[in-house]
Symmetry: C2
Subunit: 560 residues, 2 copies
Amino acid sequence: MPDNLIEITPSAYDYPLLIKHLLHSPLIRSPDQVIVYREHRHTYRQFRDRLGRLASALSDLGVKAGDVVAVLDWDSHRYHECYFAIPMMGAVLQTGNLALPPEQLLYTLNDTGASTLLLNVDFLPLIEPLASRLPHVSRFILLNDRPDLPTTTLPVAGEYEALIETSSPFFVFPDFDERTRATTFHTTGTTGQPKGVYFSHRQILLHVFSTLTELGVATVQGRVHRDDVYMPMTPMFHVHSWGVPYSATLVGLKQVYAGRYSPDVFLRLIRDEGVTFTTCVPTILQMLLNAPGSQNVDLSKLKMVVGGSALPRPLAKAAMKRGMDVYAGYGQSESCPTLTIMHLTTAQTTGDFDAEVELRIKPGYAPPLVELRVVDSDMQDVAHDGMATGEIVARAPWLTMGYLNDPKASERLWAGGYLHTGDMGSIDPDGTVHITDRLKDIIKSGGEWISSIDLEDIILQRDGVAKAAVIAVHDDKWGERPLALVNVLPEFQGSIGRDEIRAHVISFVEKGLISKFAVPQRVEFVDALPLTSVGKIDKKELRAEYRDQLPEGHMPAAAE
Amino acid sequence: MPDNLIEITPSAYDYPLLIKHLLHSPLIRSPDQVIVYREHRHTYRQFRDRLGRLASALSDLGVKAGDVVAVLDWDSHRYHECYFAIPMMGAVLQTGNLALPPEQLLYTLNDTGASTLLLNVDFLPLIEPLASRLPHVSRFILLNDRPDLPTTTLPVAGEYEALIETSSPFFVFPDFDERTRATTFHTTGTTGQPKGVYFSHRQILLHVFSTLTELGVATVQGRVHRDDVYMPMTPMFHVHSWGVPYSATLVGLKQVYAGRYSPDVFLRLIRDEGVTFTTCVPTILQMLLNAPGSQNVDLSKLKMVVGGSALPRPLAKAAMKRGMDVYAGYGQSESCPTLTIMHLTTAQTTGDFDAEVELRIKPGYAPPLVELRVVDSDMQDVAHDGMATGEIVARAPWLTMGYLNDPKASERLWAGGYLHTGDMGSIDPDGTVHITDRLKDIIKSGGEWISSIDLEDIILQRDGVAKAAVIAVHDDKWGERPLALVNVLPEFQGSIGRDEIRAHVISFVEKGLISKFAVPQRVEFVDALPLTSVGKIDKKELRAEYRDQLPEGHMPAAAE
């Protein structure tokens, strides 16, 4: 690992933006506020005490500034502690991506050179077979909630709670350069090996302040305040749960961590702990709404930012019918993640259900400090007319400086001085962003671009359609044409065929909403659609499955 | 002037915290929002256009990065433009302190070496006689609202609006180091010459984000949001109007600037423009409430942060009776200025008038990133029990690095690695700060410390007392004893004497609220109390007036 810690000469008035400084405000203001992990709860005062103990324990085991400490855990109070203590001691927190296949997870741990691995005992069967191929990892620390600590072949340095209990709370968290790396993790890439991104203390703090400002000054809809109770419904290994555990701690909110994901645990905690603010991806929201007993839980106090992929209109409607304050955000691993958040203005909060749906599913506005542009291939801005599309590029003080150990991809990422999101979009006259498609998912057909996302959105509006994915297939005449893969609800199976889907799409052509050219000739019905680890439809997998029908440029080769 | 601009090597992912970056969000989100100056109004789009023109005009006249550009104006849309355009071009904005006596104002302009002076024609009579003693100032630009531009003996480079009109809006505001000096101004010191403080782009942005987060996430009381209409009732030369013009611009609020101060103009603008958020000092609030016709203006939508000096209980009550959401903040010129802001929690917002008063007059909580301590003379923390007092010291990423051209005072300011506020205080068990006194105003009597502020606060609660000041006078036996200077309302004159004041104070001794030892033997009645330029009672002046009765340590010598 590079020496990522530059000691700064302490000067009285120099105040580096370090994660430790997020703690001043909550510790003076709400030391007795609680952090909940299922049945466990402790106060912020205890949380601070445990941070000192965790850092002492890691330090005693030999963890030094600049070392990478990887964590594999469900969402927990311990993970929350790792978010703080590890970077605060000058080490780098690697949030191991549990959704990756074992070989890719192995790759990511070797890519960062993590020397310490904190893992939940639930993942012993995953890690034990890989251990011999983790040459950098010199210590394993177990996180355990079972009555007895399972035995393992791993060379274990200790169990988290036992280490905490016997270590000193009086660890002195030093000052150092704010550009010191604080976190790293790997994108669930759709192509090739996962790519590592990384963020400094400074970047994490500036992301916190911009997003908190945006969420705080919202008029009514979606606004976050001191009485909120926060629980992530996104995994903590996924882009720091969008940074909210840092923000929630700064504000001194009650926080709730759900452990291993399941809709019934989420529902119980929402009800029992009074959760009012959460982050979620569409697939988990769908599970939450459809889970047995869901209807018996009052969701009308729940604000939810939906990201990860576009918020489908029918899903937004279903959530709104439950009284939820649901709204979209947009970002990605490379951007820490926030690039936009949607909030309705007071004038837009009319109570007109259909009008509000159309607004709530928009990705929204760039928060403070984000310079977001939609550009053509010459990096020229397209018109802000809601029609002209281009690639979304951005500058903001919290974007990854590159990909780990991949200078070429890093250079491409930052071509022309802006981070390239790889997303196609447009900007409406009101300043909100619209995402048309992933650059690589867009269908280039006869010189026109067809948005796979727009087509999926239209098909999803057909009664009886549960899921839909549109990918490009090779066409001798047009270069590419769309192929629609449709999953139909059980009770509609047999009653919806290709013609019904096509007729439905054509009705949108007649309304002038899409081009006639976009109507897919080919519609296939499937029993299920493959998902990526963060719940997005896995188009890489679909492209592999339909590879014989794919045009050249979409070959899912290893080099893709 | 030192070369304060360090050009940074532009790297794609480096994003310095510059004032220009505050503009991305409002320009995309609310370009048609308005900024009002009395009868004039323009949009944010026009504001941005005018920033380019102003920078072009100044650049064409020879203003370069690192130059100091001083402004002498009432609160105006032009001043608002200077807040942005001057630092954005890499120059330093000096906000000239109009309340200083002419000789001190002269001193401050020579202290910074300002090369350019933008001045409202109202101040020509002030500046013309000084011009020959301003060797650094090479250009004067006039700000004029009169039908005709007055003639002047000054070598005028142009009139602001004429320069704007003929200059290009397409000025390219460069990237540079975020630690580049953005602003400078002089404290209305109570001793000696005014002291210059200075703030970088980075400091101003971090102050914006911390205070906006604090104001945004407040539950109900005092919270700031996108529908607010902002008007400062503090002068723009005073600590950037507490930074709110920067914050309000970032959020895209409607902003109102009142020009030359008068309560009737404030009242008219509050009514006609729907002002909902303002900053104010106690004396101006008092004028607002007591102005002719004040009762006819609805103030019930107005949130007001009161700072500059303690918010007196009777004044808070009077404002609350008008329906105002009034609450205290605390800070000083050296701290940009915010060190604390008071907000009631939901549990505290009971509607119990008297209980709320006691909370609203507290200076409140340190916002995010402020490490605020109350320490004894060995820099050890005193107990947070609301009783133990010490000096308030702080670290935060926005405190002045020192005093201009005064390394010795700078060193004292930062002794022990914390900024010394010179204020005595305590911290309540709930984490709120209580200011006991200015370190130099506290009365050291027989080994005990008597708070002049506590005594003033008690005396002000006596019916018929309009104003009160308590200073130390020499006492052979006790070292110092308090002298109370009291101004009585006209209708009470003759009916309140020394005995009534002393009996009133003694009643607080009987309630156990202050020590018997604090009761002043000496009470003098005065027709008026001298005020400093920012409306605080001028104890320096009082000490001069009562100098024969002063103990040694309080001699108002030049070296004090």
